[in-house]
Symmetry: C2
């Protein structure tokens, strides 16, 4: 490449690289409001599916329906919800104002409670695959206990 | 049981049975607004996770992250989203007014498009487990194609 051409091409390449880097950063760091909306959505999907399991264990039990619901809860539990609590999401509006307490971002207990939720969600999915209604009902109770534990400590009252 | 006692107990049992039945019905049929909120939430969680896969195939590829994201998309695809399009949810407000077109509830093509989405979501989860970035990228494109196909036909423009 001759020197003159290099003077033109090099800055263009540099701008291209910067733009690509900026795109990568933008992808890796969605806005706080978006993260809050996603986590509010994730808990809604969990609520939908715990409600389905509850309706099944209290009414006519449909094994396939419970499997679908439990697998959805487990997949979301395993999805890495922690990423939706990135710095900057302590306050703000997703679908609505976040109800999270600031302590969630500093208290180590939050991580323990999240791990409990994961454990019980995965256990529910295993039991759902077997299909014994008594075990599934008991496990749903354990799972809901982990939801409540976190809400008690880290969710503002309405 | 003596006759007198039976006269007292029988109605109480009947009321109990009615209450249980009413509870079961209430559980089986959440309000349309709730169903709309759940489906809007489900698509947000899908969007979060397709965005994660996209960031991975365009940037530094983290196999575990892609597996988590793809498994979440597949679980939601397999969860039975059709139940969230129950009669009565053609219009109404969940987190916001539904953008669904009325044709979705009558056009058989909607079911075909939903099945395509399921198929490609499950294929993405399979490929994510293998971890070949080229295959995952191509499959993400196929999956997003099924999202667009349904949006084009059945989602109102903003």
């Amino acid at each position: 490449m001759n020197k003159r051409l290099k003077h033109i091409v090099a800055p263009v390449l540099a701008i291209g690289a910067l733009a690509a880097a900026a795109t990568a950063i933008a992808q890796q760091a969605p806005k706080p409001e978006q993260l809050i909306k996603w986590r509010q959505s994730a808990y809604q999907v969990i609520a939908w599916n715990t409600g389905r399991v509850k309706a099944n264990v209290e009414g006519a039990y449909n094994k396939e329906d419970v499997i679908k619901a439990a697998n959805t809860i487990a997949a979301i539990a395993n999805s890495g919800l922690g990423a939706l609590y990135a710095p900057g999401t302590e306050t703000g509006k997703g679908w609505k104002e976040t109800a999270v307490k600031p302590e969630l971002f500093t208290d180590k207990k939050a991580g323990e409670l999240a791990a409990n939720f994961n454990k019980e969600a995965n256990e529910l999915a295993k039991l759902a695959a077997v299909g014994d209604v008594v075990s599934v009902k008991a496990q749903l109770g354990k799972l809901q206990g982990t939801c409540k534990a976190c809400h008690d400590d880290f969710r503002k009252k309405d």
